[in-house]
């Protein structure tokens, strides 16, 4: 799932980069927007109360994490979301909690069995 990502930061795993990128609320918002449709960096910049350079920096972090990709469109950069990376992140994000939710669900099922059966 991660093998399409460019490994340009040795020592830091792809996954770490994905989560570090998603730790910021603005970056999460950008990802959600560009997953719906591609937007130029300047269109994105107009949405947030911060400088063009600051938004550009956020986009660069997301791009390094493989969460978005940039494409030159004339004088503009078009940003679009990369669904595979987001999906992979979502899976590993919830993994530990999911494991325990699954276990507790199964524990509950065993407890709901008639006594004789569970003790057999």
């Amino acid at each position: 799932m991660y093998n399409h990502m460019v490994v340009d930061q040795p020592g830091r795993s792809d996954e770490d980069r994905v989560f570090a990128a998603l730790a910021d609320a603005t970056r999460r918002d950008i990802v959600l927007r560009v997953l719906q449709h591609a937007e130029t960096v300047s269109a994105l910049a107009s949405r947030y109360a911060m400088s063009f350079a600051a938004v550009q920096k956020h986009v660069a972090v997301l791009e390094r994490a493989g969460l978005v990709s940039k494409e030159r469109r004339g004088r503009e950069q078009l940003v679009s979301g990369r669904i595979e990376t987001v999906r992979a992140a979502a899976r590993s994000l919830q993994l530990y909690e999911e494991i325990w939710r699954g276990r507790i669900g199964r524990m509950e099922e065993i407890l709901a069995e008639p006594p004789g059966e569970a003790d057999a």
Binding site: E15, D16, F19, L22, A23, A25, R28, V31, L32, L35, Q36, I83, V86, R87, A89, A90, S92, L93, Q94, L95, Y96, E97, I99, W100, R101, G102, R103, I104, G105, R106, M107, E108, I110, L111, A112, A118
Partner: protein, 165 residues
């Protein structure tokens, strides 16, 4: 009905899971103490666990093998640090190869399980302590739990609306 909460604490490097069961503590305890019941819930249905050893005394150990859909095997081991039936259990949880030999290059997790009587029956509190912050990040994606849950909900909707992507 199971009430469940998951609370990460990055300073203590712990993740706490709380669940409630409609059964008395002595009954919930059996889910941990009887290896035949334990193996019915420890592994996911696609990777059922088989406990080949389960010596529930302080200092005792347990070994299990999980078998995947393609017959692939993954092993694990526990070392019981504290056993107080039917109230609490503390153990070290680690990975092992398919032959059951503990992996030395993988960090272990310490787990404390506590059972208390509650209105519903039993409240189970499970605290997992990780060896390092890195390990915790790997396993729980530290700090992301709250902020991203909402975002991921939206992403799920997007994915549902965009078949084939």
């Amino acid at each position: 009905m199971t009430v469940l909460s998951t609370t990460p604490d990055t300073e203590a490097r712990t993740l706490t899971v709380v669940a409630e069961f409609a059964a008395p503590p002595a009954r919930v305890w059996q889910l941990w103490s009887d290896p035949r019941q334990l193996e019915r819930w420890w592994g996911p249905p696609t990777w059922p666990a088989t406990f080949v050893e389960h010596e529930l005394v302080p200092g005792g150990s347990a070994r299990y093998v999980m078998t995947g859909p393609e017959g692939e095997q993954a092993g694990g081991w526990w070392r019981f640090l504290d056993v107080d039936e039917p109230r609490s259990l503390e153990l070290e949880d680690g990975f092992a190869d398919a032959d059951g030999r503990p992996s030395t290059d993988m960090p272990t997790t310490r787990m404390r399980m506590q059972l208390e009587e509650s209105e519903a029956g039993t409240r189970m509190t499970l605290v997992s302590q990780f060896a390092s912050l890195e390990q915790m990040e790997q396993l729980t994606s530290m700090g992301m739990v709250e902020g991203l849950t909402e975002a991921l909900g939206q992403i799920d909707e997007l994915l549902a609306a965009r078949p084939g992507r």
